[in-house]
Every structure is written in C-alpha cells, then in structure tokens.
Symmetry: C2
Subunit: 207 residues, 2 copies
Amino acid sequence: MASKFLALDHTKQQQILNAAMKEFALKGYKAASTNQIVETAGISKGLLFHYFSNKQGLYFYLYDYCVDVILEDFFGQIDFDQKDILLRFREMFLIKLRLMNKYPVIFDFLIAANVEEATEIKDKLNSLNQEIIRDSYLKMFTSVDESLFRSDIDPSKVLDIIIWTIEGISNKVQAQENHIKAEELRNGKTLQELDGYLEILRKTLYN
Amino acid sequence: MASKFLALDHTKQQQILNAAMKEFALKGYKAASTNQIVETAGISKGLLFHYFSNKQGLYFYLYDYCVDVILEDFFGQIDFDQKDILLRFREMFLIKLRLMNKYPVIFDFLIAANVEEATEIKDKLNSLNQEIIRDSYLKMFTSVDESLFRSDIDPSKVLDIIIWTIEGISNKVQAQENHIKAEELRNGKTLQELDGYLEILRKTLYN
DNA sequence: AATATAATTGACCACATTGGTCAAATGTAA
DNA sequence: TTACATTTGACCAATGTGGTCAATTATATT
C-alpha cells in the first residue's frame, strides 16, 4: 500500500510524516486537514493521495510507524539482566525522557492518538493500543526478582505502587518543563528528584 | 448573561445542559454541533442562542456549572477533622466513585475539557483549570497530620507517593468497569482492593 | 376580549472547509 | 523521440457551520 512511499528519499518521507503527525496531534483525526498537511509538507494534494489511499490509511500508517520507532528504540536500550525492578525502572525512566527529547513530534502524535474520539477510527485504534500496552508491560516486567520485596506484603501490589509512583514522577516532571533538555537531564535536578523517590520506595518496600 | 436561562424551570435547564455536555464530551469543542445540541435538547436553534450569547459562552457556562456542582458536592462531604491522610483519602476515593455514579455526564464533559485542544478556548480553559486544580489540592491537604509518617523520609514525598497510588487505583478501577454501580461499591471488591493498597502504604510509610 | 409582552420557532444565510479526483505538466532515463 | 514515473493544483460535490430574525405561539395584564 505504501510501497511507493517507501521508495521516496528519506528526508522527504520525514517531511511528510512530520507534517501529518503535527496536524493530527494538534487537531485530532477528524479536524485534521489534509490541505494543511500538504502545505506544511510542501507537496501537492495529489501526491499525498498518490502515496496513501486516503486519510485513514495515512493515519494508521503513521500510528504503526510511531509505535515501531519508539518501541524498538526503547526496548533496544533496556538491560533485562537487571533484575532489580527499581533499578530497571530508573533506567527506563531516563530512556523515556531521552526518547521524548529525541522524538517530540512522535510523542505528541501518540499522546493525541491515545485520546482519539473520532468514531471512524476509535475502535480499531483502541484495540491496537490495548494490545501494544499489554505486550509492552509484559516485556518490561520479564524476570523481575520479587524476592527483593518485603515478604509481608503482596508483591503484585508492590509492583503497582512502584509503577504508579514512577508514572506520577513522570507527569510531575513533564508538567514542570515541557521538554527537558538533554543537558539538564544529565546532571540535573530531575535525576536527584527521581532518586529521592526511589530511595523511599526501596527503604519502605524492599527488605 | 445567562439570567434568562436561570429563569427556566429546572428540568428544561437540565435537558439543555445535558444535551450540550454530551455533545461537547463526545466530539470536543470545535466539532461539537449546536444543531445536534438543540435536537437532543428538544429545543429550537433560536432558543439556544436566546439563552447563550454564542457557542463559546455556552461552553464556559457549562464548565463553570460542572466545576461548581462537583466541587461543592465533593468538599461538602469531606470530614476535615480526619487528620490521618490515608483515612481521609479513603473517604475521598469513595466519594469520588459515588460522584461519578451520580453525575456521569458531568464527569465525561470535564474529562473531555481537560484534553481540549481547540485554539479558541484552550488558553482560557487551561488557566481556569490550573487554578481549580491548585486550589482543590490545597483544600484536600489542609491540616494533615504528618507526624504519623515515618520520620526518616521526606513527608512531602510520602504525600506524593500516596496521591499517585490512589490515582493509580482510581484509573485501574475505572479501566476495569466503566461505571461502578452503587451497590457493587457498597460491599464490593473495589473496596477490598483499595484497602489492600492502603494497608501496604500504612505499613510501609507510617511509623 | 383585547392588548402587550415574553417565549419560542425554524427556515434561511453566507461561508468555510472538507476529502478526494484527474487531466495535464514536468522530470527522468533509454 | 519515446516511454514511464513523478508531481501538480484547479476543481468538485457535498456537508455542515454558527448565528440571525421575522413570524408564530403562549402567557400575563388590563
């Protein structure tokens, strides 16, 4: 379907993908305008529909593309030999921040896709999404050493509390500054803050 | 501005408000159709614009209305003499579930408003929202007894972890079942699950 | 009953925008 | 010169928009 598109040279592909991602992220599926996309991308209307069958085809192509890029980069960096989930999470937290820096547009698009309401695509999108979430969570938790946890509490609940705390920190950090610069991250407050919480979790939930 | 509207009898007011809330929640501000609203509400187009200056006026009237209803009901039920934040949170969690049951449409509308992207209203909406969030959080935490916490960890971080865990439980519960029936709540698994997590938090974060 | 006032209607408008098409122009390679 | 692929953008029918306003209906006042 998009074989013609793949034959295009890389930068032009990126122009088109970026323009489309931005537009969809900004306005949502329904209100996103293909006219605006071609204008931003610097191509003609006809060309867009030469590459993609229609608006929906374009959207799902984008979705697959974004998921692929992010997941591959993300899981490619994770060290699954790290059995201590707090340390692994620390790593994943940093990787995520770096990825948000590397692919801001993709993240904007995926976030918007997650709250997409357009009837024409909602169902397909949701089922795709649930599958991805489920698979990803499973991957992230493979071979975690639960024997490190306190023995007097339910390990699955411990995991949940850790997850939610990390998510909370993520949101807090994102709210503070829209896009953390790579440098700030390297030697920054963010890391100290994260470690403050992790220390508490370790002190209270580990044995 | 909406003084004429307030003179209307209560049920008709509710018809209109409900119709509008549903439409905005479903389609977002931009794509929401005033035609659809009047049709659902069972009134004529002219009448809607007799009561509200324009689409935007209607939207912000709705927003204020929803916030008022929820916050008043919510904070009206909270016992601020309860200084133990875990117990107070337990109470608030249950109140929230009950409110979601009582005002499903309002919740849908407010959730949608929270991710609203329409350029015409986004800024005003965000600033309104931030203010409300800030004030509400402040209220929820008034006169909490932090001396109950373990003395070897930062109390503000303890609070954060508790908040995020409760939020996590909320989301988990909502994902499980779209709308928990009041009965299920009264004697249900939900409560047991909540208490399971609270017990852990108490065991690990309190002294 | 007659009048005045308020509530309510819905046909109508100008307009913006949409996703998608297609004949033609342009570029490329043999 | 031919053949093929890439790219254009004017064009379209369709849909739907927020909002208006003269007219109708209901209600209250005299």
